[in-house]
Amino acid sequence: MDIEKIKINITVNGRRHTLCVSPDRTLLEILREELNLIGTKKGCDDSNCGVCTVLMDGMAVKSCTILIPQANEHVITTIEGLEREKSLHPLQQSFIDHFAVQCGFCTPAMILTAKAILDENPNATEDDIREGLHGNVCRCTGYKKIVEAIEAVRDGEYKEICGEV
């Protein structure tokens, strides 16, 4: 049952890591279990709930279905990498202000997906946001306040530096 370990180089939240891990492990497992980045959650095993979403080279991906060799030499951003120095990311502050958080289990993934949506299209319409978020399930909020939070950032209501960490 033992598979030979391989060497993996990944940059996570600006830090480069060289890991020696079994290639059958997922990016999600490596983030949570090896790098202790537990802000990335696990809710299913087949990439249908979206709570494991991280950014890979700026794209929102579901880390539970990325095998770690696929992430080799790629740049990963998790929720822990979103804060700027002494400041929350505008999306984080907007999620707080708009009550876009309830149980919070989907929240890191929602925020990262939102970032990918706005990075790709700073003028994303509500329809664009809905299309971009439809792979991220939230059981609590009904999504309305999440869209409101993203639209507020899109509309420039938040400065780059906002909220004390």
């Binding site: 202790n36 537990i38 696990k42 809710g43 707080i96 309830q102 929240t107 890191p108 439809h134 059981r139």
Partner: protein, 788 residues
């Protein structure tokens, strides 16, 4: 400072959650070196005899620590939560555990499960209500192998005779007025049989627990289960015979519950394994296990007959309900009473006959799910009220306004209704979506239709909530509570209450929550009771601390405590030479050499305690009547506009308005969040979610690919989601507040059903209203039209 009640204070847990810094129970694995991992071997058959169970090969696998089976001595499985019972001779649903492994790694545990050889003999299985009540039904527990009878309760008011099937395992009857006589007088009658699907609440964090074996033989557990004191700790102490001092339960942030985590299945099994192996163990359910091994909701079958006068006044309701509860052996919980309670709070029904029962099947044992069966129980009534309106040619709003109970009236049980804002709720949603007007048909094959419905849900007067609050020597406030924070914002509301009582900003209040070694007793957050129960306890605790603080301040200034008023850091003194003092300055500094340290001392808070228990019920009489069967009632109304694809049967909700009678909301934004979340959850289970079964009776869609939870695309766009709050203050709630989170889901399904009827002319009789079902009804209707 003005009041904080009714203010849109931001959630106190939001920062932790947007940064990913807040720990959920499933995040604790990294903190324990030498953690052992659990994995379950589960039955693939809905009903089978275990002919032989061979764990020898698995036991020999290097790294396996322990394998528990149903025949380990000294365990009374009947005391365990239903989904935590390890099968011994017979498995009663596909997914029941037959062996439980712990190993040094998860991979070894998984491998060990593969090596367990279980030889099954498939037995006939009962998978739904209709099979369970057939004339000669297969029994859920095979009589030849019966080890744990399904049980039958004989509580007063229960129908202890006339059992038509061995699978009927509990019943409840009530009869107010004289239904037969009233039906004779009725000028119009509508009736029908209604069904609902079996579903799983599916909070996004799967059930999980880590149980640490402590050096003194005690245990400390981190889990996302609800009710640290009342459910988990009490359960473990009772079932595993543990001293209360040796069980500590901690609830970190919970990734949702919706009722489903009120059942301590994973906690019991993890504690059992921890004690057997004296190791710190982790048990993390997979999503598939949440479907097949964790409680589902209980679907209801209802047969409803409403008799009315021509002006729309409903004079009689003849009501039958069956709760399908899955393989709940030794049932003591279900009788049909919980669900059928939904027939009572909304309409007058001067004559109401309820005949309710619980039906066992070979499916996953049922437990709480948001609404406690009321959405299922009220679906048929609401559909029929809409039909009645159509039949009489009066508006569905008007017919409801005519029959909804008014404040100060008594419901069919005989209970006084002290808070009901339902008429205002209905008015507000139908002002937004005008159900009496026809929508423009401008979407081609998508036909539009509008509908409305209402709902009510009882609050069960169970439980006891305690709170402790500290007024620290610097004027900051610490609150200790044990209610669950499933995500609904209860901790924020509780902090708001404390801040309001002490007249400090909410940022001066720190909440410590959910640790049985630190925070005081609370049963659990169920029945939408937290705002009411824990809220009252917090208010009491604050009043207690304030009263003690007043005494201390009064003593210093030679005043009667009634002359002191506490406003945050300031005490206002009446009749003294000093008008106002800074309270923190009254706390004397202590050093390691100071003596006689009485009175207010730095570092030693003034503490208050509060306890709240609702008044108990009055046992109902032989007709099931009593002036106190439940506590208070929460209400909701919904109006929708749907579009139905004539060619595929697909249903889309285009526009929805939902209103809640919350009593006075503590925080309207949190209420709005619950309304929006409730809408979305109800759209999911009304249109799409249900368990499907394969030939072995196993759930065949036990994953999120095949059991689709509603995504953002299933919700109307933001401008078409309307939330309204129409409070009617609850006299005994804190500041007039009451709970509201469950009622929201009740009217959504029947409002959609009416919208579908208006759109394409077919009457659905149950949910989920899937495209296949709607298409079949459309085809049936067209075939009939052709024959005509």
């Amino acid at each position: 400072m003005e009041t904080l009640i009714g203010k849109r204070e931001k959630r106190i847990d939001a920062y932790d959650k947007v940064t990913g810094k807040g720990l959920f129970a499933s995040d604790y694995g990294n903190q324990f070196p030498n953690l052992a991992y659990m994995k379950a071997c589960r039955s693939p058959y809905a009903h089978a005899k275990i002919k032989n169970l061979d764990i020898s090969e698995a036991n020999e696998l290097d790294g396996v620590i322990c394998i528990l089976t149903g025949d380990i001595p000294g365990i009374d499985w009947d005391q365990f939560p239903k989904t935590a019972i390890i099968a011994k001779d017979e498995t009663l649903w596909a997914g029941q555990i037959v062996a439980l492994v712990s190993a040094e790694t998860l991979e070894i545990a998984e491998k060990a499960v593969e090596l367990i050889k279980c030889d099954y003999e498939k037995l006939p299985a009962v998978l739904d209500y209709y099979a369970a009540i057939e004339a000669k039904p297969v029994t859920v527990v095979d009589p030849d192998y019966e080890t744990r009878p399904l049980g039958f309760t004989d509580r007063p008011g229960d129908r202890a005779s006339n059992r038509i099937s061995p699978n009927i395992v509990g019943s409840f009857k009530m009869h107010a007025g004289d239904v037969d006589a009233a039906m004779e007088m009725a000028e119009v009658v509508v009736e029908g049989e209604f069904w609902t699907g079996k579903k799983t609440a599916n909070p996004l964090e799967c059930a999980n627990a880590i149980c640490r074996y402590d050096s003194d033989g005690g245990i400390t557990m981190w889990s996302n289960g609800a009710g640290v004191h009342g459910v988990i700790k009490q359960g473990i102490c009772r079932v595993l015979d543990m001293q209360e001092s040796k069980v500590r339960i901690i609830q970190p942030y919970m990734g949702g519950s919706f009722g489903s985590r009120l059942n301590p299945y994973i906690e019991m099994l993890t504690a059992l394994m921890c004690l057997k192996t004296k190791r710190t163990v982790s048990f993390q359910y997979t999503r598939e296990e949440i479907f097949i091994g964790a409680p589902s909701n209980w679907p209801c079958i209802t047969k409803v007959k409403l008799g009315a006068l021509k002006d729309g006044t409903i004079i009689a309701n003849d009501y039958y309900l069956a709760e399908e509860i899955g393989a709940c052996v030794n049932n003591t919980f279900f009788s049909g009473r919980l669900s059928s309670s939904g027939a009572v709070p909304v309409y007058r029904f001067p004559n109401l006959r309820m005949d309710a029962c619980a039906i066992a099947t070979n499916t996953v044992p049922a437990a709480e799910y948001r609404g406690l069966g009321c959405p299922e129980a009220e679906f048929g009534i609401e559909c029929l009220v809409n039909q009645l309106a159509d039949k009489l040619g009066i508006s569905p709003v008007e017919v409801r306004m005519k029959n909804i109970i008014d404040k100060g009236e008594r419901n069919a049980h005989g209970e006084l209704i002290t808070s009901i804002g339902l008429k205002k709720c209905l008015q507000s949603v139908t002002d937004i979506i005008k159900v009496e007007e026809e929508p423009n048909q401008d979407m081609g094959i998508w036909k539009k239709g509008r509908g409305c419905a209402v709902g009510g849900k009882q609050n069960t007067p169970l439980g006891r909530s305690e709170a402790e609050v500290w007024y620290n020597s610097d004027g900051s406030i610490q609150l200790f509570i044990s209610c669950d924070e499933n995500g609904m914002g209860a901790t924020t509301a509780m902090a708001q209450i404390a801040a309001h009582e002490f007249q400090v900003p909410i940022t001066d209040v720190r909440v410590t929550k959910g640790d049985t070694a630190i925070t005081p007793y609370d049963n659990y957050s169920a029945s939408s009771r937290t705002t009411y129960n824990t809220g009252n306890a917090v208010k009491f605790a604050c009043e207690d601390a304030i009263s003690k603080l007043k005494e201390e301040v009064a003593r210093i200034y030679g005043l009667h405590p009634s002359k002191v008023e506490i406003k945050g850091h300031k005490a206002l003194l009446a009749g003294s030479y000093i008008q106002e003092v800074d309270i923190p300055s009254l706390f004397q500094p202590t050093s390691m050499f100071s003596q006689g340290n009485w009175g207010l001392q730095k570092g030693s808070p003034v503490k208050g305690k509060g306890i709240f228990c609702p008044a108990p019920i009055h046992q109902w009489n032989d007709k099931g009547l009593s002036d106190r069967v439940w506590n208070w009632f929460q209400y909701s109304a919904a109006a929708v506009e749907v579009a139905v694809n004539e060619e595929t049967g697909q249903v889309k909700v285009l526009n929805i308005a939902s209103s809640a009678d919350t009593g006075n909301p503590i925080n309207p934004k949190l209420v709005e969040s619950q309304i929006e979340g409730g809408i979305h959850m109800a759209i999911g289970f009304s249109i799409n979610e249900e368990h499907l079964f394969d030939n072995n009776g196993k759930i065949s869609n036990a994953n999120f690919s095949d059991y689709r939870l509603p995504t953002i695309l299933d919700m109307p766009t933001n401008k078409n989601v309307h939330s309204c709050i129409n409070p009617d203050p609850l006299p005994d709630g804190p500041y007039g507040a009451k709970g509201m989170a469950e009622s929201i889901t009740i009217p959504v399904g029947p409002a959609i059903a009416e919208g579908i009827y208006k759109a394409v002319g077919v009457r659905v009789t149950g949910y989920p209203m899937t495209a296949e079902r709607i298409l079949a009804l459309i085809k049936e209707k067209k075939a009939k039209e052709v024959t005509k």
